[in-house]
Symmetry: C2
Subunit: 218 residues, 2 copies
């Protein structure tokens, strides 16, 4: 029965998330996950082909929480910098509970070939959803960048997001204060660059950036 299948699966991923939060990724054993889910080790492997794959559950939850926090936070603002800042701070807030062990998670995802890697084909839909959020960040702001650049901007902003995440993962300061500082300082730079992109002196630069992004997309 397919509903039995679902519930076993959910029990496993639920147990995994609980244990990850309690003891971190390395401190969680597959035996413990299986125990708490009330199944055998082998059964856990029937649904998830590796311990790494259990991380997908964490990932999905984080994306959903980020979106839920980001949209209301930027609503009402029309300044690109404000909207961008709200979105990035929302991410830091959403990720806060997982801070201690998220480093291991992202290290796993950073592994080339890993399906969780944001650059892997498997992560295509997840990536598209993330880029779309930045599309919305832009759409709600009264900003008028160079039109060619505008088309690539959502993806570029998502790249900025990845960079911030990378920093956050290594940030050991309380409440991720350094990452928040990085956001507060980076956002005006990006906003200014976008604003200046119409300037004649900067047009060739913008074109170079656009060409680069397109060339890499193949």
């Amino acid at each position: 029965m397919t509903t039995a299948r679902r519930s076993t699966r959910d029990a496993i991923v639920g147990a995994a998330l609980e244990l990850f939060r309690e003891r971190g990724f390395d401190g969680t054993t597959m035996r413990a996950v299986a125990d708490r889910a009330g199944v055998s080790v082998g059964n856990a492997y029937y649904y998830f082909s590796s311990k790494d794959e259990l991380v997908q559950g964490f990932y999905d939850q984080l994306v959903a929480e980020h979106r839920a926090l980001a949209l209301p936070a930027m609503a009402g603002h029309t300044d690109l910098g404000e909207r961008l800042g709200a979105t990035l701070h929302a991410w830091i807030t959403a990720a806060e509970p997982y801070r201690e062990f998220a480093g291991r998670f992202f290290a796993v995802a950073a592994q080339p070939g890993n399906p969780l890697s944001p650059f892997s084909p498997d992560a295509g839909p997840a990536r598209a959803a993330a880029v779309e959020l930045y599309q919305e960040v832009l759409a709600g702001s009264r900003v008028d960048p160079d039109p060619e650049l505008a088309r690539e901007l959502p993806e570029l902003l998502w790249l900025q997001h990845l960079g911030i995440v990378l920093f956050w993962v290594h940030d050991r300061s309380p409440h991720a204060a350094r990452t928040r500082l990085l956001v507060d300082r980076t956002v005006p730079i990006v906003a200014r660059l976008v604003r200046l992109s119409r300037l004649p002196v900067l047009r060739p630069l913008g074109r170079q950036v656009v060409d680069l992004v397109r060339a890499l997309r193949e």
Copy 2:
């Protein structure tokens, strides 16, 4: 005797490097490393407290090879873009033999708290050496950036280098062609930005960047 100590250590790291090249990181077992080095497993752990730590050997070798390739490659050039491109292409060339499994290596290093991480305190000297190479890239070029920016530029170029490495790790194209494309497209952008940094419109932007870097250094 300290020379015996050295030679055991070298035997282990040598065996590890051989095996890494033959079978990759995951395919290499500590038992195999110990065997080939002619010592016991326990002894390998006496010198290296984990399998990850053996990667340091690979890392050191790569840095040395990069420097050896980069210096002659940029000699004679005075254009910043040319020097930067030569340095980055030299890195890709030096890293080529390790391409298949370097992904695993950098994933290990990317783990927060790992002493191999470029941002860890343990890696301070290694980082300083890397930044210094970009100091040399700048020193040999006739370029005249905004003076405040100039002081932070070596570190910023090193950050660019890290970004390229990150891309390379995920690049599956033959001969890392896509990474080379990225270098060829990124370098002119960076060179142009540096050149434009003296422009009055861009001064505030440059200041923001400089402030950011300094704030994050604490």
